[in-house]
């Protein structure tokens, strides 16, 4: 690639922390990371990335490298770090299997818009395409799951390419970037002139220009609306627009519901926060989506898990869609007024033009539905009284003890839906979960990263017995790095979500969902991590308290009801208004 001079913005060159001289590509890379403000790297060494690791030996004081136990763990940790810190997650892996082990995390980060810069080692440039040892075509493998990727074969390219990588990863709609560096480029010495962060790429428009006529049209629709309804997603958090969002809904008095990645942007108990959208979302927001007259979607992408059947989705409503990514506008739901732009810029403009209102009757309607849902589902889930424990009551007791201040990292499955539905979140960047890709095995490594990204906060990982076994080797990372992560395994001895579907839609044909688990507490003990297992609710609250107060990581296994279902539920192929309470 020619990194043309005009592609790099006119930004003052940052002085190198080593004298301007001949440096290796590896040193140039690490210098670039320092200027970009990187403090933590998650990675795993191997033959093709050894020169970078060799250089890293001299940078131990400046760059904290966390040795994970599997590259997939490394990239999920990078995601957790990025999600809680708001910074770019950085991951190192070697070539071949090291690089391919990143693919799941790249796909996860791509669909959840998580900013990552992954550096993979590659075989010597002269060996490319020869099926050399541990050579894979990582660029072509990762093209569909990266926002941008690039192979460096000459050390001279490194400063410009890394600058572009960080700029692309974090700007506009964030996403994962992969830079594959051949071993010769890591070793090669070149005249290092310092590092210039990138601020402009000719062909790249991170933010569309905000058009005032669309803001005006949107405001007019909102001002005329009798039953307006806001759906917000992670775009609010990614744009750091939480305050702008809160001001907007408070002035306009519009009830607002969230996608699971949007959770926490405003506190759970905010009076206009009417709950979670989608397949296992709350009853009111789903049913009333098909009753509102104006639907205002902010930083969310109308995923099929949110909309259910598109041909029956909010057909009565005029749709206003605010999104930074033009490709999301009209992709699934056709908008009446598209508001392209960063919601941190567009929301204040909209707030200025909307009338201060209170839609009391309309907001109360959500409360009526909430009451129905509490009676039919929530009360029993959170207060089951007798019998086996429920997942919901674990989250309820956790809320009582954390006061909603903890970061909740959830894996994928029934427990994820329960955690997202019931966890109280007082702060933004507190809900870390694999939303779009639904990656089992995400939570344990992501919790490690989340803790490094927000070291002053409590991090509680909530994981199913199935997902935990996908990446449990990362207990080793916890052990070695000595971090404080609380792990709750909600063990129902099933792959619960699949079992729920089999029960509801496949006539209880429980095909290969009955999963046996090891003694998790003993496994944790093997890694030097304290823990215990409980199956009696009399011990639940005290055990959670013991876990939270424990000095260091702790694993608490809670044996929960074996055949418990997550309700409400929008069955696949149904409209959101057909949500089932039972």
């Amino acid at each position: 690639m020619e990194v043309a001079q005009q592609e790099i913005g006119a930004v003052a060159v940052q002085p190198a922390t080593v004298p301007v001289t001949q440096v290796s590509g590896s040193v140039a890379l690490l210098e670039a990371l320092i200027v970009e403000g990187v403090d933590t790297i998650f990675g795993y060494p191997g033959g093709a990335i050894m020169p970078i690791y060799d250089a890293l030996y001299d940078y131990k004081e400046k760059l904290n490298h966390i040795l994970v136990r599997h590259e997939q763990g490394g990239i999920h940790a990078g995601q957790g770090y990025a999600r809680t810190s708001g910074k770019v997650g950085v991951v190192f892996a070697t070539s071949g299997p090291g690089a391919t082990n990143l693919v799941t995390g790249l796909a996860d980060a791509q669909i959840d818009s998580t900013p990552l810069v992954c550096i993979t080692g590659q075989v010597f440039a002269h060996l490319l395409g020869t099926d050399a040892f541990q050579e894979t075509d990582v660029i072509n493998i990762t093209t569909p799951v990266t926002k941008w990727n690039y192979q460096v074969t000459d050390a001279n390219e490194i400063p410009e390419v890394i600058a572009k990588a960080f700029y692309i990863a974090k700007s506009g709609r964030p996403g994962p970037v992969l830079i594959d560096i051949t071993k010769n480029a890591q070793i090669q010495k070149f005249d290092y002139q310092g590092y210039t962060p990138c601020k402009h790429i000719r062909s790249y428009r991170p933010k569309p220009i905000v058009r005032s006529q669309y803001i005006q049209q949107a405001a007019e629709l909102i001002n005329q609306a009798k039953k307006p309804f806001v759906l917000w997603g992670q775009g609010v958090i990614l744009g750091s627009a939480e305050q702008e969002f809160k001001t907007f809904i408070e002035k306009s008095g519009i009830p607002a519901a969230w996608t699971i990645l949007g959770a926490g942007a405003i506190p759970t108990d905010h009076e206009l926060n009417v709950g979670m959208l989608g397949m296992h979302g709350n009853y009111g927001p789903n049913v009333l989506t098909n009753e509102c007259d104006v639907l205002i979607a902010i930083g969310m992408r109308f995923d099929d898990r949110v909309t259910g059947r598109l041909d029956k989705y909010a057909k009565q409503a005029k749709v206003i869609h605010l999104d930074i990514d033009p490709a999301e506008i009209d992709k699934n739901v056709v908008s009446t007024v598209p508001v392209w732009g960063d919601c941190k810029e567009t929301l204040p403009l909209l707030t200025q033009l909307v009338e201060a209102k209170q839609h009391t009757e309309w907001v109360n309607k959500f409360k009526e539905f909430a009451d129905k849902e509490i009676e039919a589902v929530i009360f029993d889930e959170l207060n089951p009284g007798d019998g086996e424990m429920t997942m919901g009551e674990v989250i309820k007791h956790l809320n009582d003890l954390t006061g909603g201040e903890a970061i909740i990292v959830s894996d994928v499955g029934q427990h994820q839906m329960v955690a997202c539905r019931y966890a109280r979140l007082n702060n933004t960047r507190s809900n870390v979960t694999s939303g779009g890709l639904g990656t089992m095995g995400f939570a344990l490594p992501a919790a490690i990263g989340a803790k490094f990204g927000a070291q002053d906060r409590d991090v509680v990982a909530i994981i199913g017995d199935g997902g935990f076994q996908m990446t449990l080797q990362e207990l080793g990372t916890i052990m070695q790095s000595g971090i404080n992560v609380k792990i709750i395994i909600l063990n129902n001895r099933f792959l619960g979500m699949v079992r729920q579907w089999q029960e509801l839609f496949n006539e209880r044909r429980y095909s290969f969902v009955d999963i046996q688990s090891p003694d998790f507490v003993t496994v944790a003990k093997g890694y030097g991590i304290a823990g215990k297992s409980i199956d009696d609710r009399a011990n639940l609250s005290s055990s959670l308290k013991e876990m939270l107060e424990h000095n260091g990581s702790y694993l608490l296994e809670v044996m929960v009801r074996k055949e418990n279902n997550v309700f409400p539920m929008v069955p696949q192929g149904c409209s959101v208004a057909e949500i089932r309470l039972k």
């Binding site: 941008w148 062909s203 220009i209």
Partner: protein, 201 residues
């Protein structure tokens, strides 16, 4: 009832890109993951140094084409994407026909047929002659049918190249892209609600 929006027809997608290794694959993936067949694909340097121009032809509904163009334009190295129906572009394909020179020499009618079809000889050797013709698909197809009885030895056709009829070219737009900050007159979704054929960001 199918709306005009949903009716499939040929669309010409014009993509201006940086000259970047791997970009062809990145663009192709956008089609393949949606199981959309590319009927014709031409890529070459444009009139502007370091910028390449892709001409892609697909047979799809406008709704699908609009979404595709947005996904393509989203790629970091893509500067601009337009899409047009065949009526909105001037387009040509180049075809080469290899014939036996003996047959050409003996059959005067062949020469006449070639002239009538706007073909010309590009290579004449003892053993074969290569003719060239440019035109729309049906025109170059027609010449195959005519030449086939005289022993057409080999035939090859290029991808489609297309020039947009209503366009002031890309030069002005490029100057805006080269600014560090996008100019105010870069049009956003001007056409979005009008169902027009140009998508710009």
């Amino acid at each position: 009832m199918e709306t005009l929006e949903n009716q499939k027809q040929e669309f010409n997608i014009t993509v201006y890109t940086e000259n970047q290794i791997g970009l062809l694959s990145r663009i192709a993936i956008i089609f393949t993951r949606r199981k959309i067949n590319i009927d014709s694909l031409n890529t070459s340097p444009s009139e502007i140094e370091s910028i390449h121009r892709f001409n892609i032809v697909i047979n799809e509904s406008e709704e699908v084409v609009r979404k595709l163009t947005r996904q393509i334009e989203k790629q970091v190295e893509v500067l601009k994407v337009y899409y047009h129906t065949n009526d909105d572009v001037v387009w040509q394909e180049l075809a080469l026909y290899k014939m036996s020179t003996d047959v050409i020499a003996e059959k005067i009618s062949v020469e006449r047929l070639l002239r009538e079809n706007g073909a010309r000889a590009v290579v004449i050797r003892k053993d074969y002659t290569v003719f060239e013709a440019t035109g729309h698909r049906e025109e170059t197809d027609n010449l195959i049918k005519i030449l086939q009885p005289y022993g057409l030895i080999e035939f090859v056709r290029s991808a489609r190249v297309a020039i947009i009829k209503q366009s002031d070219g890309f030069n002005r737009k490029l100057r805006e892209f080269e600014r560090l900050e996008p100019g105010e007159d870069v049009v956003e979704n001007e056409y979005l609600n009008q169902g027009q054929k140009v998508f710009t960001m």
